[in-house]
Symmetry: C2
Subunit: 368 residues, 2 copies
């Protein structure tokens, strides 16, 4: 149902568009096969998406207007028919100021796509509004009914599983996962991306927002998602979450390593970032560990269950406006870590994927 | 409400009493301040608790009869007034054969205490039976409504937080936590145990079964539990869960390390165990890593957020019947790891706690 060519999105990101919390909006604009007609953010009304996030982050969709109200969005031609909650704040709570916009959208017949922890479909006010407008509510973070612990399944023969990991949240793991999957397909391989968060689910149309799954079934759910992908394709890119050194979310990161049991990991890092997103006030605990420490920690932790190597660095160079400077930073990281390094989001994923493919081919076979 | 001196338990562990899955039964029998009147397990009917699990595991409550049916238990004097579901199978599902016993108990007016993932209170058959018998259902694994991510709070001044960790599940972390808390109190310190699983909650009367919490709030919940304990006592022993090398549950273990942020960790290990409980069929992945690897991995992982050391080994020597042999095994582990080692469950927690206290006193102060 989502995505589909008949979906036309209006994305609400009031007061937040372009900021870290609006990564859902950016992901959907850039990657969804459904077009975005407008973004609602009254603090940036009159500008375009390109003005705020530029060409790369919008995937070339620079002309999408930013409007102040839902009414303005509904006056556009074509008229949007689906409202996307475009933010993913820490803890996933709904801003109370957005209630009236959501109610209005539902009453006007727009379906609502929600990735917050708060399920709109469980709220009587929204349910009633949806009934009045014959609209549907999609709560993408609602966990599956399946409640199974991991079994330690082996990968299907010949499959190659890559997990994106990172030094922080909101550093680009989802985008890198999508880009590497695209590159694998362009290289003539059969490839699938495993969405593990709500934005990836909105884009790909399947998956589980694993951070909402009960902890006992977290690893069982990741294993199950990986198995589904292996039944569809040969190269699997599992979307990573969080960071091993982030005190709030590291357990989700570990679950992915121990349950996807990747043949190889790709480390996503935002060059120049030293403090964890959204935890700037947490003092000493918010400091990012070095990329060398991260590589070592990921390999140590993987080896507790099943060995895996970090085979490449996907560097997010968005802090560097100039392309040449970005290339110099990439070369620095490559020299420093000895690992193939590139910004697949900015410069295209083909070259980095080719080097990842080479590294994976050189890996030892899984012990029997 | 639970525990209370007015509670008289009958524990159902049909076909499983004494086995790994009946750790809830054993924990409640040994540690609850509410007496257990009978255990239901028709495969061992006629024996006593002491016959099956012995003096140490029953906490001296060796004479409790094992009966075949609830009717037999209800004929005892004093009559039990609370049915405890005494098992914790992997995945926490209810054995269908137990339904009729639970319905009968509720209809007879017995409250039911349940630690399974399946919530009995949500099941219409049980709810109706409870209404007919004016009985209550306590689903201890129901997560709190609070949904907050971890904030990276600092410990209150002067508090000492110890986390029990282990090389497997069901290896004795809860028992060790209770024993060390008792030893701290006996040493004249104010101490509290933080229950993080359903059995600990039944015994202590508070806590959260963290394996049922949505992953995004797992670390926030552990942080909150630790904070509550710090407000009550000076020495905090946080009950560990799972094992870092167990592919099914390692994320819960990591969450405890990164959110309780212990000053020190105590490693619980069952001497002689080489394969993870309940995962014997999982081949190479079920193999326990060595205790040295575990110590190193725990310290590496802790250091990603906040440094912590393993300061002692609480060795479960239940595979060794002879006390002298157990003492030799303890001495071997102490020599091998260089860490204070004892079996606090078997030989009393006082000596090991004294050595832990010394080690904690010698730790560097937390960096500012």
């Amino acid at each position: 149902v989502i995505p589909s060519p008949d979906r036309r999105f209006v994305i609400i990101a009031e007061g937040m568009f372009g900021g870290d919390a609006s990564k859902t909006a950016r992901g959907v604009i850039k990657y969804s096969s459904s077009p975005t007609i407008a973004v609602i953010d009254s603090t940036k009304a009159g500008q375009t998406v390109g003005d705020v996030i530029g060409d790369v982050a919008s995937g070339g969709h620079v002309d999408i207007p930013i409007v102040a109200t839902l009414d303005e969005a509904l006056a556009l031609d074509p008229r949007p028919n689906t409202l996307v909650i475009g933010v993913a704040p820490a803890g996933g709570k709904l801003s109370p100021a957005w209630r009236s916009t959501i109610v209005q959208a539902l009453e006007e017949g727009l379906d609502v796509v929600n990735g917050l922890h708060m399920f709109l479909g469980d709220d009587p006010e929204f349910r009633d509004a949806a009934a009045r407008g014959s609209a549907r509510i999609y709560d993408f973070r609602r966990p599956p009914e399946r409640m199974e612990v991991a079994t330690g399944r082996e990968h299907l023969p010949g499959k190659r599983v890559i997990l994106t990991v990172g030094t922080d949240c909101a550093s680009g793991k989802m985008g890198v996962s999508l880009e590497l999957t695209k590159a694998a397909r362009e290289a003539g391989l059969s490839a699938a991306m495993v969405p593990t968060g709500q934005t990836g689910m909105m884009i790909e149309g399947w998956g589980v927002a694993i951070d909402r799954v009960a902890a006992d079934f977290l690893q069982g759910t990741v294993e199950w998602l990986t198995e589904q992908a292996e039944q569809q394709a040969d190269w699997i890119v599992v979307e990573g979450q969080g960071s091993l050194d982030l005190f709030a979310y590291s357990s989700v990161t570990l679950a992915l390593i121990h349950a996807a049991r990747p043949h190889a990991m790709v480390m996503v890092h935002q060059a120049g970032r030293e403090v964890h997103h959204a935890f700037e006030s947490s003092g000493r605990l918010a400091k990012l560990r070095s990329i060398e420490d991260h590589v070592q920690a990921h390999e140590t932790i993987a080896s507790l269950v099943d060995p895996s190597k970090v085979v490449a660095i996907a560097l997010n160079t968005s802090f560097y406006e100039d392309d040449d400077e970005a290339r110099r930073v990439i070369a620095d990281y490559e020299a420093r870590t000895g690992l193939p390094t590139d910004d697949p989001y900015r410069f295209g994923p083909g070259p980095l994927f080719a080097r990842i493919r080479e590294a994976v081919a050189a890996l030892e076979p899984t012990p029997a």
